[in-house]
């Protein structure tokens, strides 16, 4: 069975605000600015937009955007659950709507003030068991035990992974050093001009021992990213389209926010494996065809674990894959060339999609030669993007 998306839709515009630690304006304004930039990039007008897609956790209301941007009649809207893990699901939703004819021009957006506003990494005790369809029902089992942040949840998986395959925090550190080398070249990034050594990594403070040091964690960030999606035949009239070759959202409901504490084997990312099976199935694309990959790195262990879950290397092989430099500019699969969420910033995964588009347009600050096929994985949701 091939994906309904299968090359029938395209990303025709991308936009962003600056990424910062204090945006000094509302999420609605950030989203409006990013969407306008994406529409300008696509050569389309706000009046042509007839669909909106975001995350359930995004604070910006569709009504506000329609009024702020002067968007006309909305034919389709939807929101993807499960926070950043669902981030690539915006393309499954938007692509499905465009392919079915439900809408013509869809804007996907994510606006966060994850640094100056409500920080994901702050230790807070919730008083309600659920919020925003983001997997937070699991918090009720964590709150009385001080397991209060995504890093804390995820670190329990990471320790088991390390135990199973003999992985150390230094192995994660080697991936982080590469991410920071990429982000050092990226003016968008928090860490522009600030590469680190493995020793720098190993002397950063423990967040959750033995898996996470400070430099293993993404940068909480303020900012917004927007994508414009339309049919491939219509995309031919736009300046720089990128084809959505496949999109998948399997595995979305098997896990909590950043963990799957009750799965049989926490050393394996079952959700990623399920997603990847759907993504590649019937796409006509193999893993060997990938020129570049963006892999959701809210925390560095997720990068290594996902490489294995996605089948990009075998179980337990990610640490050697990383140590051999395969994620680097001369490697077999350059990864997170913007510096990733750890290096560039944390726009909840959508900035990884943006970097994949840049690579396929040939305009990344860490451009991979002749990049024609890119994978973006948010573990439980993913897309394969290609040059037209």
């Amino acid at each position: 069975m091939s994906s309904v998306i299968s090359r029938s839709t395209a990303i025709v515009g991308v936009g962003q605000t600056e990424f910062s630690k204090a945006a000094g304006r509302s999420e609605t304004q950030l989203a409006s600015e990013a969407i306008l930039a994406a529409l300008v990039d696509a050569g389309l007008s706000a009046g042509q937009v007839d669909g909106l897609v975001s995350y359930t956790i995004d604070p910006v209301e569709e009504t506000e955007l329609v009024r702020a941007l002067g968007i006309g009649e909305i034919a389709f809207s939807s929101r993807v659950p499960y926070g950043g893990g669902g981030s690539q699901g915006v393309l499954l939703h938007a692509g499905s709507a465009v392919a079915s004819g439900a809408a013509e021009v869809i804007v996907a957006y994510r606006a966060v003030k994850a640094r100056s506003g409500a920080r994901f990494g702050r230790a807070e005790v919730g008083t309600r068991p659920t919020s925003q369809h983001s997997g937070s029902t699991a918090m009720q089992w964590c709150t009385p035990y001080g397991v209060l942040t995504p890093g804390a949840w995820m670190s329990l998986n990471a320790t088991r992974y390390m135990h199973t395959y003999g992985v150390t925090n230094e192995d994660f550190g080697r991936a982080v050093v590469q991410l920071r080398a990429y982000s050092a070249n990226n003016p968008n990034s928090h860490f522009y001009g600030e590469p680190i050594t493995l020793e720098d990594h190993q002397t950063s403070r423990w967040i959750a021992e033995p898996s996470l040091r400070l430099f293993d964690c993404c940068q909480e960030t303020d900012g917004a990213v927007a994508l414009v999606i339309t049919r491939s035949d219509r995309a031919a009239d736009t300046p720089s389209p990128v084809v959505v070759a496949a999109a998948a959202g399997a595995g979305l409901f098997e896990e909590e926010i950043a963990s799957n504490h009750y799965a049989p084997d926490l050393a394996v990312m079952d959700g990623s494996a399920a997603m990847a099976r759907r993504l590649f199935r019937g796409s006509g694309i193999t893993r060997a065809d990938l020129d570049v990959a963006m892999i959701y790195d809210a925390f560095s262990p997720l990068l290594l674990m996902q490489l294995e879950g996605l089948g990009l290397c075998g179980p337990g092989e990610a640490k050697d894959f990383v140590a051999d430099g395969q994620l680097g500019p001369k490697g077999s699969l350059p990864c997170n060339t913007n510096g990733g969420l750890i290096g560039e910033g944390y726009i909840h995964g959508m900035n990884l999609t943006l970097e994949a588009v840049r690579q396929l347009r040939g305009v990344s600050v860490n451009q991979v030669d002749d990049a024609r096929t890119a994978l973006v994985s948010a573990s439980r949701t993913g897309v394969i993007l290609q040059c037209p």
Binding site: G146, N157, A208
Partner: protein, 140 residues
């Protein structure tokens, strides 16, 4: 001895689906949910049995013994209700269910996967208690 936390451990958030677990803990018992029809044990508690779709639910006492499946020594960020580092554990109980909890009465450096643990309790801010674990055979 350093001063304990200024705020007490937060009480669990009770829901229509989870209250049996936390209410038993308040009485000093560790329980799991068992399907009233097919007998499958499950944790966390849920309204329907995924194996047979029965809505019949029983609450059964567990032995309180198990092994550490995974752990994490949490240093940052910190919340005033806890003493740091917090030792978070996933315990595989002898009956075959897994629970998230804390390990107490141990130095963080001595925690390891596979270690045998047994039930203890920790007080919460609402004069209740939640199940935690300590090394097996480490005394009362």
């Amino acid at each position: 001895m350093t001063a304990g936390p200024s705020v007490q451990r937060p009480a669990p958030i009770l829901t229509e689906d989870n209250h049996t677990f936390w209410e038993a803990a308040r009485e000093g018992r560790l329980v799991a949910q068992r399907c009233g029809d097919c007998g499958q044990l499950r944790h966390p508690p849920r309204p329907m049995c995924p194996a047979c779709h029965s809505l019949q639910r029983e609450v059964v006492d567990l032995s309180g013994t198990g092994v550490v499946y995974s752990y994490s020594i949490l240093h940052h960020p910190q919340h005033p209700a806890f003493s740091y580092p917090v030792i978070a554990v996933l315990v595989d109980l002898d009956e075959g269910v897994r629970m998230l909890s804390n390990l107490v009465d141990i130095n963080a450096g001595d925690v390891h996967i596979g270690m045998a643990v047994e039930l203890a309790f920790a007080a919460t801010g609402d004069d209740g208690a939640v199940p935690v674990f300590k090394p097996r055979g480490s005394g009362p």
